[in-house]
């Protein structure tokens, strides 16, 4: 066991463990990762015939998909990925902009239980649009989009604790195809 993990830093091993946890909680069955020379496939049952290295794009209800860099994970000097993606980074090779949590707290996607969520994939937002609430000790803080565009990805689940700087949504800015 130690031999196989010698090429990975302690931090990377820890991140993998967190990914496994997230996978378990999500609606996905498999996750295939490649970083550097290491290819890691995690899942249950028969792996589907996957090519490429990008993580699966969610089509079902918003799961907890940690933002993975599709190229090699940098040396342990940059351990803040993947579960807590670096704030404000565009991240992916597409041109989406991340909406990040301006504070730590419990994220709520809807204004109150039973109400429709503030936004969904495909929703148009402006900078002032409220995209969710973050609750800290019973105080609710509205999260503004801070960017104009269309929601392309929902990166958090209802009632999930989010860190400061954690990616909540991805937005394709207006004007881009």
């Amino acid at each position: 066991m130690t031999d196989a993990f010698r090429i990975l830093s302690d931090d990377e091993v820890r991140q993998i463990a967190l990914i496994i946890e997230s996978l378990d909680r999500s609606t996905f069955d498999f996750l295939q990762l490649e970083f550097g020379d290491v290819k890691l496939t995690i899942g249950k049952g028969q792996p589907p015939p996957l090519t490429g290295t990008a993580p699966l794009v969610p089509t079902a209800s918003p799961p907890v998909v940690p933002q993975m860099p599709s190229d090699s994970v940098a040396a342990p000097a940059a351990p803040s990925q993947p579960v807590a993606a670096s704030p404000m980074a565009g991240g992916q090779s597409d041109d989406t902009i991340a909406i990040v949590a301006p504070l730590l707290g419990r994220f709520y996607a809807q204004p109150e239980p039973g109400a429709p969520p503030f936004v969904a994939i495909g929703s148009q937002v402006t900078e002032a649009t409220t995209v969710g609430l973050i609750e800290v000790m019973k105080t609710f803080n509205a999260v503004s989009a801070g960017v104009s565009g269309v929601i392309t990805e929902i990166c958090v689940q209802e009632a999930q604790i989010v860190e400061y700087g954690q990616v909540l949504f991805r937005v394709r800015p207006i004007g881009k195809p």
Partner: protein, 361 residues
């Protein structure tokens, strides 16, 4: 050990220290980090980190809501506040208690009791500890002058909400009292949100001697000896050593007993330190204040007693009976801690480490 996971609400050296104790006890560690500390040494040692805010301390390490929410969100049983930041925050201790999170430290009530220096003085006096002649609250410069005349100058004007060497000003003659009183009150209001002041006699040839206490929830309180922290810079300790080198054994014993008396009287829980002033001219000692937290210099006590104070903090927080009797505490050798401060002499000695290009150890 009922505590299985702890949120460490601090950074740097003390965060590493707490993680080490947790490793020995088999407690999982979640480190609360600000943006700036995501890649710190303790962050790499903890089982997990959670980013509680931006680099600014007020939005992160001083953010009670974020810390408590982070503890709840990570299903941590306990919060260890370290020292500084919110280690002596009544509000944090209370918020933890309200949410069913174990605060690794004394109760919120004890923190508040000792946090107000006037209240602490009254309590110490009630316990029969020797006190510096001084006053209760002084509302005006005039009152302060009256007290100063009675106890004789020089005097130390202190903020009731201060402590830790902060919010203190020496007054050497009556002429300067009104001006010093006004600025002391203003600074106290700005720094502590409370401009209550009181006076104490100022001892010029003094030693700062403090006693480490451990108390459990069953009323057991023991001391682990004293430390001498007389060498200070701007009222901040620079050198700490144990045992205290310049006091007689008779005095040493009296000081230790006085600390235990106070601790027992208030049923003190967890780790704490009772501070005293020793007048080297007369050999008399006086109660100064009590710190209801683990302190920076705790390792010198650990070095000469062989007792791991942070581990004991967790055991006590877990509701365990103190496993150490007073007679079990023995002292061997001498330990000295030196704090290295990096300052810019041309900028009023502003703290600044500059860029470290070589380090030889």
């Amino acid at each position: 050990m009922t505590i299985t996971r702890v949120l460490i609400a601090n950074r740097g050296e003390i965060a590493v220290r707490i993680i080490r104790a947790c490793e020995a006890l088999g407690i999982e560690t979640v480190l609360a980090v600000s943006e700036a500390d995501r890649d710190s040494l303790p962050a790499r040692l903890a089982h997990r980190t959670i980013c509680i805010g931006p680099a600014s301390a007020s939005a992160s390490y001083l953010n009670i809501g974020a810390i408590v929410t982070a503890a709840l969100g990570t299903e941590s049983d306990a919060v260890h506040p370290g020292y500084g930041f919110l280690a002596e925050s009544y509000e944090l201790a209370k918020a933890c208690a309200d949410e069913g999170i174990t605060f690794v430290g004394p109760s919120a009530a004890q923190i508040r009791q000792m946090g107000n220096k006037l209240e602490a003085r009254a309590l110490a006096k009630k316990c029969g500890l020797p006190m510096l002649s001084g006053s209760d609250k002084v509302e005006t410069a005039g009152q302060a002058s009256d007290v100063a005349a009675r106890i004789s100058l020089p005097v130390m004007l202190k903020a009731a909400a201060g402590g830790g060497g902060r919010g203190m000003k020496i007054v050497t003659n009556q002429e300067e009292m009104p001006q010093i009183f006004a600025s002391a009150a203003a600074e106290a209001r700005a720094a502590f949100g409370d401009d209550t002041l009181y006076l104490e006699r100022f001892i010029a040839n003094a030693r700062h001697i403090e006693v480490q206490l451990l108390g459990d929830r069953f009323g057991n309180v023991i001391h682990l000896g004293e430390r001498d922290c007389s060498l200070q810079r701007r009222h901040q300790k620079v050198v700490e050593e144990a045992p205290a080198p310049a006091i007689t054994d008779a005095l040493r014993d009296k000081i230790r007993q006085a600390a235990v008396t106070l601790g027992r009287n208030i049923g003190y829980e967890n780790a704490g330190t009772v501070e005293f002033i020793v007048d080297q001219d007369t050999g008399a000692f006086f109660f100064l204040e009590m710190n209801t937290r683990i302190q920076v210099e705790h390792p010198v006590t650990e070095a000469i007693t062989g007792i791991d104070l942070v581990q004991e903090q967790f055991r006590i927080a877990n509701g365990e009976r103190l496993g150490i009797l007073q007679q079990d505490v023995t002292f061997r050798g001498h330990a000295i801690e030196c704090r290295i401060n990096a300052e810019l002499p041309n900028e009023h000695f502003r703290p600044n480490p500059g860029r470290i290009t070589t380090f030889v150890f």
